[in-house]
């Protein structure tokens, strides 16, 4: 047994009664009231009448079934088949996911004319094939039922369809003609597209004087942009090179989750975290933050502070690094120690350090620039030769625009990819201003809070239907091409602008001409489209001249900052982000990596604050802990920031500063007419969480995502669907980790425990579980050919959840809705377990992706009464849905808790069309209807069966991909092609933490990792149960001086003696 405790919930930490009970009764489902019948069928209440009922029903059903004629199915071939389409074979087109400045080069899997899956474009120099949860989920947005289907005009009461684009163009021309004296403003989110920029410029040139383009980012980075302008004279963002950094210090920047370009940074970061070779090296990552972020949970060392202290910490760090500033002493000794440690590490690695900061305060960013200058990052880890264009919005622009609108100074407002009525901090003022603009046109593809207040709506195409381009970094172009004809009567924003500016060229031609000219020839253009990329061979690296002028003034302003008693941190979740994709059920149901809550946002606070504010002691009192933790209903608090209040449920989480409350943005989408939220914004977004945008502050130059807060207990409760405690490993050791120094000193130490366990076989004459720990013959040895295996590196897995969404998309995994999540009925085949360990107030976090382990000696297979689950010769634990009768013995017997049961008909697979309806609002949420709409169902993968009610399902290792890959290899008569196989989770991973392949092939990655390169870190979860899993993990290494190994620290007190005894009883 491990001496170090890893825990997922407070109950597990305290070994509370409720936890033990939950671990014992895995399925939190009351049995059907059949117990009444237990005194014998004949003595039961009405057996004869029931018998007759069943008899009658089954006779009738059998009669109907027998007399049903087979439906006549049609096969309709093409009239003229396009050359590059073979029905049944998927085509992949290179394109680019662009969303509010986020750019991910992707390949779109198109099957029989419809895009069904997004894969990362591995040729991209920026992302290297990584994707994000949002990019993966965006294919579902294409089939969103709330997409606008035609151009519309608001007639004062409601929107009315405008029958044709020509008629719409005429309407706009008339309306624009009437306001020709006033300027036109184009309001967009950050535009990274050179063609769109050019079209906007051309349009504005023909517009009334004073017309302008305002870029407004829902989440602002204008503090950094302005700081860079002040320090480097460049109004923009540099490229960051985390891969060149040996020391990374982040002041609240969630660069692995949501900050700027997380897919790119995750890939770079992973390069420095991957342990290779004889002399392992890895970067040191120090995080200062108020609440627990995804990035913070991956850090080697984490220091907690109030957000108002960010500037002071930056100043102190700069002073320690020799900057000419005077810094006030830091009161908190732990943080002061952290600043010392960070300064020492940065000093020791001049030119190989990087400091990033998540604050939107210009002054703090100026100090951060000065720090980076002091450590020689300029030109090494910060590259000014290639600037980043992810975010370009300046906060004062949108504030000024709002003033102008309210003053009636704007003639026309064209809104594209922007939703300020929802995201602007002073929503009401923007909405009022909008009403004062004579001509308001929305190009947004869905009816959102802003569009519904506009007078005209001409929806743009979804990105999967569009031509487009993106210059995410200067010189690095990624192109977009349509992968499906527009589903609805929509027109690209660019096409409308071209038309309205009197340019007769259509957008596609314009686009082609532009890029043919840029690339030099039509052939070059074609090959650029094919690869989706135009990028230089090597990335140029350069410096910018730093001017230290603004530093003194910034330091003085920072010194004047005062904090509050309680302070709020407004953050984004990796799944929902700014909230634009809030109506995406896949994203809503993806559990937040840290809190493991779905479908909601909430106020995160530390156990200490909960004790102070709610008088709820989750750590000290196991009864209060259980009372809080077991029930979905959570107490709510009233949070007041900047004079605006919000009532939020409380989520108690360790690793949060005792004075900090964290609230996520992107929830609480609501239509102006609340009754229409479901219709306009969408069934999934309606009722999910609370809108935290009003809590954002404005300090005169920029938006502030932190601030002083007041909290008050309300006495109300609100239910949260949290998944973490659902699949518990019951405190068995499943994680192994150590520190870098210890690993270098003794690589075998990290997995000493499983090795010791294995050594227990020696007295009985064996050392291997496979041969010596079972009475069964070794079946796998008898089976030749392929044996599939997966290896997951816990060191590079950041917990970003892109794999979870990719798995959902690839395998038609059902969305169950909040009600069912609260009953532990979520269906995800792949979950990311989050474990806390160590210091209760500032714990270390380990993420462990957990899916079916495909045990060669699988406990689930033995107990299936109908052999619906059995083993293949290739090492797959096969699940045959049409044989399953739903006893759930397998799920009960699975030590990894990865089997999912279809409690309800989530997919409308029932033969009766409206069978789901009576359950709506009771057991099912509206999202079930959303997912079963004919339009939404177009996203289903036709190679994977849609499961019906009453069967078990689980990870199949993407068997459809394995079969496809094998077929390709067979056709080419080349077994080495098997090495190219990729499961969906592996393909999506931005850090390449997952490897997969044929373990019998000595050249495969998995073989090399397990038996050659990484053999010391290799372990199997719960190996001691002799289940022989086919998924292996690589132990986590932290580059920290603290004690992180599994063995007990010398002299450590036996804190959990009682708990350990209980553990042993369990085992």
């Amino acid at each position: 047994m491990s001496n170090k405790k890893y825990w997922q919930s407070f109950g597990e930490l305290n070994e509370s009664d409720a936890f033990k009970k939950a671990a014992k009764d895995e399925f939190k489902e009351n049995l059907l009231p059949l117990e009444d019948l237990d005194d014998g069928l004949l003595n039961a209440k009405a057996p004869r009448r029931d018998f007759l009922k069943y008899l009658g029903f089954s006779t009738a059903a059998a009669t109907i079934a027998a007399s049903c004629e087979m439906p006549v199915r049609k096969a309709v071939p093409y009239l003229r088949k396009p050359d590059d389409v073979i029905p049944g074979v998927a085509n992949y087109y290179a394109s680019t996911y662009v969303n509010e400045g986020d750019v991910v080069p992707v390949l779109v899997k198109q099957r029989d004319g419809r895009p069904i899956k997004i894969e990362g474009n591995e040729a991209s120099a920026i992302t290297g094939g990584g994707t994000s949860a949002q990019a993966q989920a965006s294919v579902l947005d294409l089939y969103d039922t709330t997409r606008l289907r035609y151009p519309m005009q608001h007639d004062g009461k409601d929107f009315k369809e405008v029958t044709s684009f020509d008629a719409f163009d005429k309407l706009i021309a008339t309306a624009m003609g009437a306001v020709a004296a006033k300027p036109t403003v184009i309001l967009t989110s950050t535009i990274t597209s050179p063609v769109t920029q050019q079209i906007i410029t051309e349009y504005l040139a023909k517009s009334p004087a004073g017309s302008k383009h305002v870029q407004y980012d829902a989440i602002s980075y204008s503090g950094m942009i302005l700081a860079n302008q002040a320090c480097y004279g460049k109004k923009g963002l540099p490229s960051y090179h985390f891969d060149n950094a040996k020391v990374i210090v982040s002041l609240g920047a969630d660069f692995l989750g949501t900050w700027l370009s997380p897919v790119e940074f995750s890939g770079q970061y992973a390069k420095t975290r991957r342990i290779t070779g004889e002399k392992p090296e890895m970067s040191r990552h120090i995080q200062f933050e108020g609440a627990l972020s995804l990035t913070g949970s991956n850090a080697d060392d984490r220091y907690l502070h109030k957000p108002s202290q960010t500037g002071a910490i930056a100043l102190a760090l700069l002073a320690k690094l020799g900057g000419a500033v005077s810094a006030a002493a830091i009161n908190d000794p732990a943080v002061a120690k952290g600043v010392d440690a960070a300064a020492a590490a940065l000093n020791a690695n001049k030119g190989a350090g990087l400091v990033v900061c998540g604050s939107n305060d210009v002054n703090i960013q100026i100090i951060v620039n000065a720090i980076n200058e002091a450590i020689g990052a300029n030109g090494k880890t910060i590259n000014w030769a290639v600037t980043s264009n992810y975010r370009q919005g300046i906060d004062s622009d949108i504030v000024k625009l709002t003033e102008e609108m309210n003053a009636g100074a704007i003639g026309a407002l064209l809104i594209y990819e922007s939703n300020p009525v929802y995201t602007y901090y002073d929503s009401k003022k923007f909405a009022d201003g909008l009403k004062k603009v004579p001509v308001t046109v929305s190009f947004n593809g869905t009816m959102n809070e802003t569009t519904e207040l506009c007078k005209f709506s001409i929806p743009s195409n979804h990105w999967l239907e569009s031509w487009g381009d993106s210059e995410a970094k200067t010189g690095f172009i990624s192109l977009q091409q349509p992968t499906i004809n527009p589903l609805f009567k929509t027109r690209p924003f660019q096409a409308s602008l071209l038309k309205w500016s009197g340019n007769a060229t259509d957008y596609e031609t314009y686009f082609k001409t532009y890029w043919t000219a840029k690339t030099g020839s039509a052939d070059n253009y074609d090959s650029a489209l094919q690869s989706g990329l135009i990028q230089p061979v090597a990335m140029p690296v350069g410096t910018a001249t730093f001017s230290s002028g603004p530093v003194t003034e910034a330091a003085a302003k920072i010194a004047a900052v005062k904090g509050g008693n309680y302070e709020v941190v407004i953050y984004q979740k990796v799944s929902i982000g700014s909230g634009k994709q809030a109506n995406n059920p896949w994203l809503q149901e993806t559990p937040d990596p840290i809190s493991k809550v779905t479908w909601d946002n909430y106020a995160i606070m530390s156990p200490a604050m909960a004790k102070a504010v709610l008088a709820l002691d989750v750590i000290g009192s196991q009864y209060q802990g259980d009372g809080y933790e077991v029930h979905p209903e959570k107490p709510t608090v009233k949070l007041t920031v900047n004079g605006k209040s919000l009532e939020l449920p409380v989520l108690i989480l360790p690793g949060v500063h005792p004075s900090v409350i964290a609230v996520a943005l992107g929830y609480g989408r609501e239509s102006a007419d609340k009754n229409r939220t479901s219709e306009y914004i969408g069934k999934s977004a309606a009722g999910a969480g609370f809108n935290a945008y009003p809590l954002v502050g404005f300090d005169g130059t920029g938006f502030s995502y932190t601030g002083a807060a007041e909290i008050a207990k309300t006495g109300n409760t609100y239910p949260l669907g949290q998944t973490q405690v659902h699949g518990s490993s019951e405190s068995r050791p499943v994680i192994y980790e150590t520190s870098l120094a210890k690993f270098i000193a003794n690589p075998e130490q990290v997995c000493a425990e499983p090795n010791e366990e294995r050594a227990k076989l020696i007295p009985f004459g064996g050392t291997e579980y496979r041969k010596d720990a079972t009475i069964y013959p070794d079946l796998m040895e008898e089976k030749p050919g392929i044996k599939w295996g997966m290896s997951i590196d816990l060191n590079t897995c950041t917990g970003c959840s892109a794999c979870v969404v990719a798995c959902t998309a690839e395998n038609n995994v059902s969305v169950v809705g909040k009600t069912q999540v609260m009953r532990a009925h979520e269906m995800h085949w792949l979950r990311i377990d989050r474990y806390f360990t160590g210091d209760m107030n500032n714990p270390d976090v380990v993420f462990q992706p957990m899916m079916c382990q495909h045990c060669d000696n699988a406990p689930c297979e033995n107990v299936c009464p109908v052999a619906a689950t059995n083993h293949s010769s290739e090492g797959l634990n096969q699940m045959t849905y049409n044989r399953c009768i739903g006893t759930r013995y397998c799920a009960n017997n699975c030590p990894f808790k990865v089997r999912r049961f279809n409690w309800l008909d989530f997919n409308g697979a029932d033969s009766f069309p409206d069978n789901q309806n009576p359950l709506l609002g009771v057991d099912l949420n509206d999202v079930t209807l959303q997912m079963n709409d004919d339009l939404t169902r177009m996203v289903l993968n036709p190679d994977v069966t849609v499961r019906s009610r009453g069967v078990i399902e689980k990870c199949s290792f993407c068997v459809q991909r394995l079969q496809e890959n094998k077929l390709i290899a067979k056709k080419a008569e080349d077994p080495t092609l098997i090495r190219t196989v990729k499961t969906a989770c592996m393909q999506a991973c931005p850090t390449h933490a997952i490897s997969f392949g044929n373990v019998h092939d000595k050249e495969s990655d998995v073989y090399k990792i397990r038996f050659v390169d990484q053999k010391h870190r290799n372990f199997y979860v719960l190996e001691q149960l002799h289940v022989l899993p086919n998924v292996s993990y690589l132990a986590k290494i932290k580059n920290s001086d603290r004690h992180v190994t599994n063995e007990k620290e010398e002299g450590e007190e036996e804190k959990h003696e009682g708990a350990k005894t209980a553990e042993k009883e369990h085992a």
Binding site: G88, P784, G785, Q878, M879, N882, K970, D974, P975
Partner: protein, 413 residues
């Protein structure tokens, strides 16, 4: 005692009856014939030239008597090098499919062809399949025997009654057989078994559509195209080499030929129901769909896709890939689709049941890689154990089942 004997006799008689009714014909196929039908019959006839030359006397026509043994397994190379093979190609226009047959198998096929005699023309009186007649005959015989047994039992009991009366033994009046509980019990049992058998078979048959032959929007005859005119299946169903779907050809594929072929001049086509079909009118229907004007020789109307009625339907939880079977497994279309070149309108030949799939997977051999000769699909070089077994003589060939072809998740996922 005699009462027990009576019951025993009755039980025996009933069991005999059931056994006879449920007995079915067991046949043992001749080696050469089975091989011929499985591999050759699509293109060769024993007595006359067809897609390929007649097989009777092949060995005597060929350059030497062992030539055929080399030819069958090396078609692809010999067709370019061997003069006799070149001659065959020139004469028949299509290259033979390369097989992987053993010499004794080829010999068995050719022996079968050499000894083959044309079947006597069926006369009107004996039309129909004799096999089915036999089982009917057995059934009637059984029934007759059962009735005789019943009568004899009754006679026996009457005689015993008479003799008992004569001997002065007083017995109760025997109940008539239709009220005899033993008989009723037997009857119920037989009915239960029969009913159960029929119900289960009917339930298994639900959703199976063997012999399904719907009327299609255009009377398209595979017999005319694939049979008489010898168009390769893959010309139209090219998807079967690349895709999971064989794909019904798009209208433009039809028009490749039918731009030139405007009328049907072949043998009269007769529907199943006896009505004759006007081939030229059916070609006109195609032009309607394609929007083709045969006089002006151009597409001048908007086209319309043809809504064919799908015949071969698999349930949604079955994954079937044509290219796996055609390209990798080198199966002939006829293996699953039957004598398609003889079907005027296509019907479902196999029942497409799981048992039918599994049987084939158990019997079919994969094109296993031979490490010495380098023949076979190199993909299978990774199956180390089988290579070892073959070398040691434990295994002579590898079936689909051996490489996991009967596992659930090869077809269900």
């Amino acid at each position: 005692m005699s009462r027990y004997r009576k019951i025993l006799t009755k039980v025996f008689a009933s069991l005999l009856f059931i056994a006879l009714v449920s007995s079915s014909k067991i046949s043992f196929a001749a080696d050469g014939e089975a091989l011929f039908k499985a591999n050759c019959a699509n293109c060769h006839k024993p007595l006359e030239d067809y897609t390929g030359p007649k097989l009777q006397g092949a060995r005597s026509r060929e350059p030497n008597p062992t030539w055929a043994y080399k030819w069958v397994n090396n078609v692809n190379t010999m067709v370019e090098t061997d003069p006799y093979a070149k001659g065959l190609l020139a004469k028949y226009g299509a290259k033979m499919t390369q097989f992987n047959l053993k010499e004794e198998e080829i010999k068995a096929i050719l022996d079968y062809a050499d000894n083959y005699k044309a079947p006597a023309a069926p006369t009107a009186g004996t039309a129909g399949a004799p096999a089915e007649d036999n089982s009917l005959l057995f059934g009637i015989l059984t029934l007759v025997l059962a009735v005789i047994a019943l009568i004899l039992l009754q006679v026996n009991s009457s005689l015993r009654k008479l003799s008992d009366e004569k001997d002065g033994i007083i017995r109760t009046e025997p109940v008539p057989f239709y009220r005899n509980k033993t008989y009723i019990m037997m009857g119920v049992l037989v009915l239960f078994c029969l009913g159960g058998y029929i119900t289960i078979n009917a339930a298994i048959g639900l959703g199976r559509m063997k012999n399904y032959q719907p009327e299609q929007p255009i009377y398209y005859s595979h017999k005319v195209h694939a049979g008489t005119n010898q168009i390769s299946c893959l010309y139209c169903h090219g998807g079967s080499q690349d895709s999971k779907h064989a794909n019904i050809p798009s209208v433009n594929v039809c028009m490749n030929c039918h731009m030139a072929i405007k009328e049907y001049k072949g043998d009269p086509i007769v529907r199943e129901d006896g009505k004759s079909v006007n081939g030229t009118a059916e070609i006109q229907k195609l032009y309607q769909y394609a929007g083709w004007n045969p006089d002006a020789k151009k597409y001048d109307k908007p086209g319309k896709a043809i809504e064919w009625i799908k015949i071969h339907n698999l349930p949604d939880h079955v994954y079937f890939n044509h290219s796996q079977h055609v390209k990798v497994g080198k199966q002939q279309c006829q293996t699953c689709h039957g004598p398609i070149q003889e079907m005027p309108e296509v019907y479902q030949f196999a029942d497409l049941s799981m048992g039918w799939c599994i049987n084939c997977h158990r019997e079919s051999k994969v094109n296993f890689y031979n490490k010495e000769s380098g023949e076979g699909n190199k993909f299978y070089s990774i199956y180390e154990k089988f290579h070892k077994d073959i070398k040691e003589g434990k295994l002579d060939s590898v079936t689909v089942e051996k490489i996991g072809g009967t596992e659930c998740q090869k077809c269900h996922y």
